[in-house]
Structure formats: structure tokens, C-alpha cells
Amino acid sequence: MTYLRNIQNAMTDISKNKSVLFLGQSVKVPGNLLYKSLINVKNSQKIELPIIEETQMGMALGLSLNGFIPVSCYPRFDFFLLALNQFVNHLDKFEDISSGEFKPFVLTRVLVGSKKTIDAGPQHTQDYSIALKFMLKNTKIIKLKNKNQIIKSYKNALKEKKSTLFIEYSDKY
């Protein structure tokens, strides 16, 4: 089974939980690999958003406060940098700052842009996961380098209810 097929199956698996909502750009309409990855997920569980990276991450946090399990999707790590205020200052610190009153649970998917077929250059292909690791206190990072870890990793995150950042690699799709 290919990397893409594993991702698709993992997304279908987690979408069996009716509280799961996928949000981002090209989750509902073609445009990038995220669309392909979610092709078997019902449209009613997808929220197609404009380009509002930071707002998207905050929205995901807000959706989780009222009982949803958001999966916030970004097609390139380079674009995800625009969401870091909500990701690092808010989602990652929310339980701490709220004295444990709120325990938001958000899954975040970030793709590292492809270099193999078409090299999209320095603003579309970076992997900043090592730097990000130093900024996070409470959020797990899982780098999905091996296709065999994909389904299990998403399933476990849903079970553990711990906010997790998944790094996917477009070159492996």
C-alpha cells in the first residue's frame, strides 16, 4: 500500500468519529495533495477555508473548546509558519494558561512540499519541524517518514486525545 493510500485510510478511519472536522484550504475542492488525502471523507466533515492560516488554527482551537475534534490542515510547512501564534502561543499553552480549565484537543497536519518532480523552491519546500520542537511544551510532533506508521499514529492520537502535529512528506505521496 502506498504512502498516499495509508494517509487516505487513516483519514477515513479518524473521520468515523462524528466529532472530527477537517479544515483548511483544498480540503473540499481540488488544489493540492490535501484534497487527494481526504477524498474518501464526507464533505459534511470538511470546512473549506479562505487563506487565513492563523485564524484557521485559532478556529480549530475554538471548535475543540465546544466539543469538536478539529484536524487543521496545511498544504506546506512554509504556509503553516503564519499560524504559529495560535499554534505555539495558544494551542500549545492553553491548558497551562487556563489553569487546566480547558484542555483543547486538535490534530494538525502539515505537508512538507515536494522537491522531486517539481522543486517549488525555498518558500514552498521547507521542513521546520526541528525548530518547532524547541518552541513546544505540550504538543507532540510526529514525523510520518515511514508509510507503515501512518494509520497507527493517527489512531493513537485520537485515542490519547493529545494535541499532535503530524508532518507528512509530499515526496512520499
Binding site: L21, I52, T55, G58, G62, L63, N66, Q86, N89, S98
Partner: protein
């Protein structure tokens, strides 16, 4: 423009706290800070008691309220127990007052609460719940890009969220109008806006404290 309250808002809630009780709460925190018992930043409220009591009469108990680092009045008026609020402040959480029970949250980052409030509003609409979201921001935050994004998305998608702009003219000590270079500001008609004079400094109490 000193106050803008859209006509759609009606009193739905009898606010139990008086202006004096709000002022007295901040005086207690002032004294605790002065005596060195709070070793963390505090941002005291003042000068907006009357208008806030009016605004909170529009807010139902089950509504969500999002605030900023200056949140003590908002928290009290949304029903947080003063003892629990004081406990959070003494434990260094003044800038982040939160209560799941009271559906109250705050952030110490300018504009930080806005998209979170938007997400809650979206969830309310998806779940067909009856309550709504209120988000309080300062005048400088209301000029930020994130405010523009959140307001637009909320209104285009008819989400149950109200915006309250509290204008003390300053962001820390920077004059909002001068820094931006405008003289007059008009807000959208569905936004609650009021101007007030903060009697305390941006943070602390304006006196040197030895800890």
C-alpha cells in the same frame, strides 16, 4: 463617537454586581500587588464600570465571553466567583483568567482570543446551539489584520458572535490614532464601541513595589 450600541441589543440579564463592587475588587488586587503578594503582571480595570454593566446585561449566562489581559471586570460580570478569580490572580494567571463553567477565556496576546472566539461561534452554529459568543478587544487590536479577518468571516458566514471595542486610546502607552495616522474612526454598525479613560497604568499600579 463615544458610545455605539446597536439597537438590536436588549437587556436579557440583570447584572448583580454594582460599580462599587467592581471598583472594590480591583482595589483589593491593587493592595495585594502593592504589598508584594502578587509577583506576576496585573492589568487593572477602571473607568468603564457603568458601560460594562450595561453591556453585560445583554450577555446571557450560557454565552461564551472572550477577553484579553485586562479581564477582571469581564470575568466578574460574567459570573466568575470573586474568590476563585482572586485565587487565579494570586497564582499568576491575571492575564489568562479562564473558567470552563462560566465559558470564559482570555489571552495575553493582542488579538489572540479573536480566532478562538470565531471557532466557538462556528461550533455553536454547527451544533445548532442557542447561545452566542462575545469578544472584547481594545482599540489597537481592533485595527489589527486578525480583527479584520475574524469579523469578515463571522459576518459572511452569519456566525453568532458579537464584537465589543473598548477604546482607552492607547496600546500600552502608544497612542492608537497617532501611531496609525488617522483622526476619526467609524466602526461597523453592528459593533459595540465605547470610549473610556483608564485610571490605572497599562500594567501594575504605577508605584515601585519591592518584592
Amino acid at each position: 463617537m463615544k458610545i455605539q450600541i446597536p439597537k438590536k441589543f436588549q437587556s436579557v440579564n440583570k447584572v448583580k454586581l454594582s460599580e462599587k463592587e467592581l471598583i472594590n475588587f480591583e482595589k483589593i488586587i491593587y493592595n495585594l500587588y502593592q504589598s508584594g503578594k502578587i509577583k506576576f503582571p496585573i492589568h487593572l480595570s477602571s473607568g468603564n464600570e457603568k458601560i460594562l454593566i450595561k453591556i453585560f446585561s445583554y450577555i446571557k449566562k450560557n454565552d461564551w465571553v472572550f477577553s484579553s489581559w485586562r479581564n477582571h471586570y469581564h470575568a466578574l460580570l460574567h459570573g466568575l466567583d470573586p474568590k476563585k478569580l482572586k485565587h487565579q490572580i494570586l497564582n499568576g494567571k491575571s492575564m489568562y483568567i479562564s473558567s470552563k463553567k462560566n465559558k470564559f477565556s482570555s489571552s495575553s496576546i493582542a488579538g489572540g482570543s479573536l480566532p478562538i472566539a470565531l471557532g466557538v461561534a462556528k461550533s455553536i452554529k454547527l451544533k445548532k446551539q442557542k447561545n452566542k459568543v462575545w469578544v472584547f478587544v481594545g482599540d489597537m487590536t481592533s485595527e489589527m489584520g486578525i480583527f479584520n479577518e475574524v469579523y469578515k468571516y463571522a459576518r459572511y458566514n452569519n456566525l453568532p458572535i458579537e464584537f465589543v471595542v473598548e477604546d482607552n486610546g492607547l496600546s500600552v502607552n502608544t497612542n492608537t490614532k497617532k501611531a496609525w495616522g488617522f483622526k476619526k474612526k467609524e466602526y461597523f454598525k453592528d459593533i459595540i464601541y465605547y470610549k473610556y479613560k483608564l485610571k490605572y497604568p497599562h500594567h501594575g499600579i504605577g508605584k515601585w513595589v519591592s518584592f
